[in-house]
Symmetry: C2
Subunit: 268 residues, 2 copies
């Protein structure tokens, strides 16, 4: 239980104050924050609540969109927005800022180059503020719209160009469980893993964004992947991060209780 | 135009006789057949029509499901069914039988081993009948239900255990375009490519099965991938294979005309 972190998207019905208090009450020591929820409460008040309830921030989600376009197709200055997100992460005491790097804009190759360039521009800025950038490869079904980084290997290649305390990779099971190279990719990322996110995949998979479930209801071998990231030196918080419309409709307290049970039964 | 092949799923409204006649009329020399359409017409009659209209079979779709379960979750003897499919391919004069290997049943690792074992069992049988097995990696979003082979690399690893005339790999753009290793994977598959299927991906991608479009309407660089497979020695038919509910509702002749135009504009 010491390592369990509630990624607050899982309990979407809860505000940030409710989620922080809910974690404290349930004995969950970590929380993964989202910027829209932080904005509702305000950064200072959020930081105060985290301190009051003694809940640590495993990560802040998210910066990125370096290819210059949102998933909806609008232009965006991802570098500028990510600078703000780095400042916010520092103010919240979050060690890690999760990056969703952005989808295809122009060619796939040039999109990937823009991502590498943006990380190069931002890494020192993050390092100065004590925030580690967490490059999160997303599932290939989200390549066109959200992330031209699809594998741990590919994220690691970019991370390795920078100091380990400035850039790491996030291993999110939903995005990478299918990868035939996942074991060797995680091993290659020793010392570079900045986060481990768990959930399951719904079967059949009918939704490209909301096809997640609590651990235990799908094809992912959580203990195997947990052993892989631990062998690669990662002993930090483990976020349970579930995008699921049914869970989102339910009270946060109920969802957190089930999250804790699923974590005990299938992950820890 | 010499290399264009109509995968008949693209013109789903057409029966096999309509599709074969339609190809001949439009000057399309190749067709990719599906077993359900062949069954409606009968193998002998289908073979007769192909000869009469002088249309070659670029591939027969499909054998596989070696992990013992259908996408709907029913038990299936994939090896026995694939033997029948190999016989059918031989009777139709199809050089290649496309394999969709099956989804996760038990662990991912054991599922992949079952696939490798099944290919080992079937390769000599196929070789004796002049049919090449085409291992088709499917998009990772179809890993749980349809194919534990997700990358060209992984399919190639299995193919290389057998003679090149018995087992090859199918490169279908929709499934592999996002792969950061696709160029080197295709290069490694020199002499092993048994088919090249083109289409585009819809953006946003909202359906895991029907998210395809005619070439030109998505993020895939067809001429780049075509150059890659050609550099790897593949000079055979190029199938346009589109699963799209809107296309399927329209008359086959219209769809084929658009297919030819899209192929000319974006592929050839």
């Amino acid at each position: 239980m010491d390592r369990l972190s509630l990624n607050q998207i899982t309990t979407k019905a809860w505000s940030l104050p409710e989620a922080v208090a809910g974690c404290a009450e349930a004995g969950v020591r970590w929380i993964g924050l989202w910027r829209d929820k932080v904005a509702e409460t305000g950064v200072e008040e959020a930081a105060r609540l985290l301190k009051e309830y003694d809940v640590g921030v495993s990560s802040l989600c998210r910066g990125g969109f370096f290819t210059g376009v949102t998933p909806e197709g609008s232009p965006v200055d991802g570098v500028a927005q990510t600078r703000q997100a780095i400042d916010e992460a520092a103010a919240l005491g979050a060690d890690v800022l999760v990056l969703v790097v952005g989808g295809v804009n122009g060619s796939l190759k040039s999109s990937r180059q823009r991502v590498a360039d943006a990380v190069g521009e931002l890494a020192p800025y993050a390092g100065e503020r004590g925030v580690r950038l967490g490059l999160e490869p997303l599932h290939p079904m989200q390549c066109a719209e959200r992330s031209v980084l699809s594998t741990v290997d590919e994220a690691l290649t970019i991370a390795l160009e920078h100091p380990a305390d400035q850039v790491g990779v996030i291993v999110d099971e939903f995005h990478v469980w299918w990868d035939p190279r996942i074991e060797e990719s995680i091993a290659a990322a020793t010392g570079r893993i900045a986060g481990f996110h768990v959930c399951d995949q719904k079967v059949p998979l009918t939704d490209t964004l909301l096809g997640r479930a609590l651990p235990g209801d799908g094809p992912i071998d959580h203990r195997h992947l947990k052993a892989c990231v631990e062998a690669a030196g990662y002993t930090g918080p483990i976020e349970v991060e579930v995008f699921d419309a049914d869970l989102w409709r339910r009270p946060g307290g109920e969802v957190l209780a089930e999250t804790i049970q699923a974590y005990r039964d299938h992950v820890s």
